[in-house]
Symmetry: C2
Subunit: 462 residues, 2 copies
């Protein structure tokens, strides 16, 4: 340790000399930054946290860290759940929250550029008089830089895609401090390697995203939301599958199992049914929305779904979605003092019922409390294990259920994470999912970050 | 040369021993493979052409070439236009046309896997009884492996995206012969680096794509096509811009200037207007299509467009699109014995009118014959310089107009190629477009292909 501490101390002192109060070694701040929103992974605080004001400053910070061989961990809002922001090797946490400026909005081109620390709600608030919006909504009010780094998605992705489809370009700082711009503002390009999409989802292991250029969309003429409950989970899942297979362009199609509905209704004090439920949202013209709702209504009715209960006003709609977004807090509330371990997988849509029902059976057989909620239209669902802190036996059972779920998912041609990233939590599944491709990822990592200073210990073991 | 010939001869003899007649050194075949569909770039034949039957065989071929340090050039249908398949350093052309099997169609998941040599028309023919289709249509009946390697798009991309958005996963052979699978069948994933999108658009410089997993779509309930002519180019372009800004989900919106329309009408012997024209196609429900057509009709009428002329039957629609797809041949026919140099750029939609009109002015001022046709909804357009072979002065003028167009495009935040790739033709613009990012691309290239054997001399100078 003694041999390691010197370069760190030197780096911190050098950083401190130009950042002043925008560098802190306070234990409370470091601890808060060494943790995400998941209680399962051991928090690992960095040695210091810095708050840069712009890309140039990030570049300076990175140069100093690289000169001293000190790890760097980029940080947005800390809402990731796979241990993506922990500092297993210590180092400098680069908190981008002060880089929160909307740099440019081109209404005519339906795009904008934001600094990495701008959150999705902040952006939509900024856009509110333009008639445009940014649809991707992972629930948490995450930063757009963090969402890009995690290849996040959430509700709405079924219609609008994920960050993969909605980032047009990036500014990033590489491990040598070089600032690069990737992509551009054209809607498509065949000019060279797609570095934008290499950085999207790289979880800070290749460089630090400092600005993001995003696609925007016109706010639809009509939006309507409805919920529909089902006597059993299978019918609900099959409604989702048939809707997708019919090509109906629903904007949101969220599935909540009975356990999750119960948790959400208790937490939000709403009085909807506690059965397995799908929340729908339709975007389009007045007529288009009616048409979509009619088609989906026929599918769900055929499968035993209830009548649609409509959220007619914006307020009702917001309350409905807020209750969906509060699933994590609703889970905590189910068992006071608990911790929640949220995991996610994504399968081809035809396998969703099988994957989900077998997982639910494993949960029940192990007597675990683990609501299921899914961006089901994408074939993506989350299991939120509600665990008693320190209960090793319960944690072991949850791990086993998670292992089996991922094994099942991979066997179905799915992925071990639809939208949470690998972080530290899913490193063990990379080989099983990607085989020899992992070595290619490592080659890229080594070529861009030869000292392994960029968020080390994430995506790959090290 | 003498020092180089030995390894090549050894490689060819080794390859020949297991490929037999599926290797040829015939001059005619080599010359045909050393050229694309553009007369401007000097054809550069490979030393031999091989016709592998499967991924394993490609891997064997690659191992042998790498052992002997011999370049490899993957080849689909040879329909690329930026010199993407020439062999400036000789080597082995790997023609994938015999790998033309549709491996798997999952109707329930709206996806399929094809070998790289399957062409888009072949795939759609194969799918014809399923109710599904693959929408991306670059005009030429290109191979899907080649389209992935070029990040191709074409008509329909305005609604369905490019190959970037529609490739779910790939099988590829790396320079060391290793076979990797990237991506998967889930609609989204946050699991590690996006190697799929790194290979899409890499033009064979990182590895050889041997299989492609693609998204499919349900054939829309209703399809209708119409054309609308305009008294001037500006009104036509502004119709495109307003349609996009209004968020109307048109499936195709192709712009042909008066020169191009005249060429197409002569060639196809159709009797539509020779004015600047937009060809529209609408996909959706019966009502949705009507609604879209009505909205677009209002925009175009306000801007001075003619009444829509509808292609009512499938036959009429096919004739209309065939005339669009025959632009290259129509250009040749404009000037017997000519060669056509097709170049493309893509700008943010708000700059399309300016970029296109200034380019047209340059063409006219130089007295060049160069029809313009565009996937205008994407901000993407092509200029087809119709040139007299051997006329150096004319070629120099065309190069100057192209240079100016690309400079203008980059100044507007656009890209030097929307869908044709860099090949050899656009290498000179890479630095201007990407700056320091080019060095990152080179780092990746070096790490994966340290001997620079994969399609050398493309994307990067070497």
């Amino acid at each position: 340790m003694a041999t390691q501490s010197l370069p760190r101390e030197n780096a911190i002192s050098e950083l401190s000399s130009f950042l002043g109060e925008r560098l802190t070694t306070s234990i409370a701040v470091r601890e808060q930054h060494g943790n995400g929103e998941c209680g399962v992974y051991t928090p690992q605080p960095p040695d210091a946290v810095v708050f840069p004001c712009g890309t140039e400053e990030v570049s300076q910070i990175v140069r100093i860290c690289t000169d001293h061989g000190v790890p760097m961990i980029p940080y947005g809002t800390g809402t990731s759940v796979e241990g993506n922001v922990t500092a297993p090797h210590g180092g400098i946490c680069i908190d981008l929250s002060e880089m929160n400026e909307v740099v440019r909005v081109n209404e005519e081109d339906l795009d904008c550029t934001v600094q990495a620390g701008v959150t999705r709600k902040q952006l939509n608030q900024y856009l509110k008089d333009t008639g445009l919006f940014f649809p991707i909504d992972p629930g948490a009010d995450a930063s757009l830089g963090g969402m890009a780094a995690t290849r996040a998605s959430g509700t709405n992705a079924v219609r609008y895609g994920t960050l993969r489809e909605n980032v047009l370009g990036l500014t990033a700082v590489l491990p040598d401090g070089k600032i690069i711009k990737t992509g551009g503002r054209a809607r498509k390009s065949s000019a060279g390697y797609d570095l934008t999409r290499l950085l999207v989802g790289s979880e800070g292991t290749l460089g630090i995203i400092t600005e993001v250029t995003l696609r925007l969309y016109g706010i639809p003429e009509a939006i309507s939301a409805a919920m529909c409950s089902f006597p059993d989970l299978e019918s609900a899942v099959n409604t989702v599958i048939l809707t997708i297979q019919s090509g109906i362009p629903v904007a949101r199609m969220e599935l909540l199992d009975d356990v999750q509905m119960d948790a959400c209704m208790r937490y939000s004090k709403l009085d909807y049914s506690r059965d397995h439920t799908i929340l729908f949202e339709f975007h389009g013209t007045e007529r288009g929305v009616q048409e979509q709702a009619k088609m989906v209504g026929e599918i769900s009715r055929d499968l035993g779904g209830s009548d649609f209960r409509w959220a007619k006003t914006t307020e009702e709609r917001n309350a409905l979605w807020q209750s969906r977004h509060d699933v994590l807090y609703a889970c905590f509330a189910l068992r006071p003092g608990s911790m929640v371990w949220a995991t996610d997988v994504c399968v081809p849509i035809s396998r969703l019922a099988e994957c989900l029902l077998e997982t639910k059976r494993d949960i029940d057989e192990n007597g675990l409390l683990a609501p299921i909620v899914g961006h089901a239209g994408d074939g993506n669902f989350h299991v939120g294990f509600v665990l008693e802190p320190g209960n090793e036996e319960e944690l072991a059972m949850a791990k086993e259920v998670n292992d089996k779920m991922i094994e099942r998912t991979l066997g179905m041609g799915g992925t071990c994470t639809g939208e949470h990233g690998i972080g530290v939590g899913k490193i063990g599944y990379m080989e099983a999912e990607h085989g020899e491709s992992v070595e290619v990822m490592r080659m890229i990592k080594r070529s861009i970050d030869p000292q392994n200073l960029m968020n080390p210990g994430k995506i790959f073991a090290s």
